[in-house]
Amino acid sequence: MYKDTEELFRELDIDLKPNTIVGKLSVSKIQSIEIAKAVSFHSRVIVMDEPTSSLTKVEVEHLFRIIRDLKKRGVAIIYISHKMEEILQISDEVTIMRDGLKIGTWPASELTTDTMISKMVGRDLTHRFPVKENVPGDVILKVSELTSPISKSFKDISFELRKGEILGIGGLVGAQRTELIEALFGLRDISSGSIALNGKKVKIKSAEDAKKLGMALLTEERRVTGIFSVLAVHENASIANLGRYRKGFFLLDGKRKKREADIMVDKLRTKTPSTKTLIMNLSGGNQQKVLLARWLLTEPDILLLDEPTRGIDVGAKFEIYTIIKDLAKQGKSIIMISSEMPELLGMSDRIMVMSEGRLTGILEGDAATEEEIMRLAAQH
C-alpha cells in the first residue's frame, strides 16, 4: 500500500511521504492528495469545485500541470471556478450558468474575461469596480510593531488607517494576513506592539472588546466562522447587536430588533424569500450581505474584511464592491484582505503587501501594479 501510494505521488509529481498525517498538511497538499485519490480510482471524470480558492500562484501552476497530465491520460475534468483567468487558461470548453440555469457552452478560445462576465451577469459590465468617491481623512487606527507570540506568524507590523480609506492587504497564502487582522480584532494573542484608536492606545482582548471600540470583522471562512446556518436571516443579522435592544431589566425589544435587521438586510439588496428564511438556504453572496448587515447594524467605524468576495458570483461581487465603496464614502475605514489582484487594485486606496508574516511594502493604489504586488508578496 505504501509503495503504491509512493508510486502514485511520484507519477503526479506530489512531494509527500505516504505516512504523513493529512491534518498537518497545507490546503494545497491536501488537495493534491484528493486528486491522487481520484486518479487511484481510475476515475474517468473528475469534478473540481473551486480547487484554487486557497492556493498560491505556484501551487495553482502545479495543479494545472497535474490537470494537463490527467487530460493526456484521457480523464475528463469539470473545473468549477470564479476565476476567469484560470478558466481561460485551463479549459477547452466553457459552460456558463446563472441562477441555476445554463446560459450556454462555448470553446474557451472564443471567450475573453469580459465576454464571460457579461454572460454571467446577463448585462454588460463596463466597469468591474465602482467609481472611487471616498476621500481618506485623518488617521483613525495606528498599529505599531505588532508581533504575534507564534514565531512564524506576523512580526513588527506597523501601519496607519485613515478615516474613509480602503486599505487593501495583498500577499500569498501563508503571508499571515488573516492572523494579523484577527489579532486586531482580539481573536488572537499579541506578544508585543500596540494599537491606537483615534490617538488613544487600546487593549483588545476579545471580539467583544473590538466590537465595543467600533470594529467589525467579516471572516474568510463564511460557513465556519460567519453564519449561524440553522438560524433565520434576521436573527443572523441582529446577533452582534443585541445590547442595543434591551427593554426593561432583561428583555429584548424583539420587534424593533427584527425591524432594524429587516431594513438593513433589504438595504443591502439581499435576495431572500423572507428574513425568516434560514440563512443556509441563501447563496454565498446573499449570506455575505447578511453578515455585512450584521456588522453594519453595530455602526462600526472600522471594518476588517477578509476575502469579502470569496466564493461569490460575479454579479453579487459587484454589489459587494459597491457597498464597500459606499461605506468608505460615508467615512468608514476599511481594511480588506484579498488574494485577487484585480480586486486589490480596483478597490484599494493603498495596498499593503505581506510576505511570511512581515510587511514588505505599502503601495499607493493608483501607482500599484500587479507585478509590483507580486514582487513584494514573494520577497523574503
Binding site: 465595543k212 470583522l217 466562522t225 449561524f228 440553522v230 446577533i239 452582534a240 429584548l252
Partner: protein, 341 residues
C-alpha cells in the same frame, strides 16, 4: 422563478417535520383510547400532567444545554442531591428519625431556596469546566454526575441518618407536591401550575432575552458566536447554572411529591430528559429547540408510560417502544438538517 419553488417545497417539508411530534402525540392518544375509551378522562389527564411536571422542569433545564450543542448527564444526580437536602431540613419536629434532630422550625422557603442554590452551584461547576477548562460537556457532566452522587451519599450517610430513607416531611412541604387549587374533578395540582409557570419563564428566556438569543447562536456555531463578540464562556456558565437551578427545583418538587427522599432519587432522569428533548425536536447538534416541543416530548413519554400501563401492555414492551421513538426522532432530525453543513 426557480428559487421560489425550491423554498416552497422546503417550507412544506418544514411544516410536516415541525408538526410531526404533535401528530405522534395525537395518534398515541387516539390509539390508546380506541383500545380502552376509559383512558380519556379528567383523572387520567390530571395523572399524566402530575407525572409530567418534574420531568418537564428537568427536560427544560437539559434543553438549555442541548441547544448550546452540549449535553448534561448530571441532571438526575443533581435532582437526587437537592431532593435529599430539602427533605432533610423539612421534616416534622415530632418525627422520630429526624435527619437533624435538633433543627429548629424553618420558614418553608429557606430550605427550598437553599436546594435550588445547590443545584445552581453544581451547574456553575459544569459551566466552568466546560467553558474555561474546555472539557467536552459529555465528560464534564459525567464527572459531576459521579461526584454529586458521592457528595449526596456522604450527606445521606451522616449520623444519625446512616442512609435511612428520609420521611416524615412537613405537611406544608408535601402540600406543594400533592395539593391542588379547587377540589374534586376539576382541581388543578400546584405542581402542574409550577411546571407551567416554569415553562412560560423558560419560553420568555429562550425567545425574548439576550441570553436566549446567544444560547441559540452558541449552539448554532460557537466560532461564529465568538467572532460576533459574544462572550461565549460567560453565557455558557450562566446557561449551565440556570439548568442546575431548574434541576434543584425539580429535586425539591420530587421530594415534596413523594413525601421523602433517598440518595438514589433522580437516578437516570437525565436520560429521560434528553430523550424527551430530542423527541420534542431539540437538535443534538445544537442551535435548535423550542419550549412547546420539549413539553410535547415530555408528554409523549408520560403518555407511553401511563397509557400503555393503563391498557395493560408489559413495561418491557414500553421500553422497546420508547427506544424506537428516540432513534426514529433523531434519524428524522438528522434528515431534516442534513444540508446544514
Amino acid at each position: 422563478m426557480l428559487d421560489v419553488k425550491k423554498f416552497d417545497s422546503k417550507r412544506i417539508q418544514g411544516f410536516t417535520s415541525q408538526y410531526a411530534i404533535y401528530i405522534v402525540l395525537v395518534l398515541l392518544v387516539i390509539g390508546i383510547t380506541i383500545y380502552n375509551p376509559a383512558f380519556l378522562s379528567v383523572n387520567s389527564l390530571r395523572d399524566i400532567l402530575i407525572q409530567s411536571s418534574t420531568r418537564a422542569i428537568i427536560a427544560l433545564g437539559v434543553a438549555f444545554i442541548l441547544i448550546t450543542a452540549g449535553t448534561d448527564l448530571s441532571a438526575g444526580r443533581i435532582v437526587g442531591l437537592t431532593a435529599v437536602i430539602s427533605a432533610s431540613m423539612l421534616q416534622n419536629e415530632n418525627y422520630a428519625a429526624r435527619f437533624f434532630p435538633d433543627l429548629p422550625h424553618m420558614k418553608l422557603f429557606i430550605p427550598i431556596i437553599l436546594a435550588i442554590l445547590v443545584g445552581m452551584i453544581c451547574g456553575l461547576v459544569n459551566g466552568f469546566v466546560v467553558s474555561k477548562l474546555n472539557v467536552p460537556p459529555f465528560i464534564a457532566t459525567l464527572g459531576t454526575m459521579v461526584a454529586v452522587y458521592g457528595v449526596n451519599s456522604l450527606y445521606f450517610d451522616m449520623e444519625p441518618n446512616n442512609s435511612q430513607p428520609i420521611g416524615g416531611l412537613r405537611n406544608d412541604f408535601t402540600d406543594i407536591g400533592s395539593g391542588s387549587i379547587g377540589s374534586g374533578q376539576f382541581s388543578i395540582p400546584y405542581i402542574v401550575l409550577i411546571a407551567i409557570f416554569v415553562a412560560f419563564i423558560v419560553w420568555v428566556v429562550f425567545n425574548k432575552t439576550k441570553l436566549g438569543k446567544n444560547m441559540y447562536a452558541i449552539g448554532g456555531n460557537i466560532q461564529a458566536a465568538r467572532v460576533s463578540g459574544i462572550n461565549v464562556a460567560k453565557y455558557l456558565i450562566y446557561i449551565y447554572a440556570i439548568a442546575g437551578a431548574l434541576y434543584g427545583l425539580a429535586g425539591v418538587l420530587e421530594a415534596s411529591r413523594t413525601g421523602g427522599a433517598t440518595n438514589n432519587y433522580g437516578n437516570m432522569y437525565e436520560l429521560d430528559a434528553i430523550a424527551a428533548c430530542v423527541v420534542g425536536g431539540v437538535s443534538t447538534t445544537g442551535g435548535i429547540g423550542t419550549v412547546p416541543g420539549v413539553m410535547v416530548g415530555v408528554l409523549i413519554f408520560t403518555i407511553i408510560n401511563y397509557g400503555l400501563t393503563f391498557i395493560g401492555i408489559s413495561p418491557y414492551w414500553q421500553l422497546i417502544i420508547k427506544g424506537l421513538i428516540i432513534v426514529a426522532a433523531v434519524a428524522f432530525d438528522m434528515r431534516k438538517y442534513a444540508n446544514k453543513k
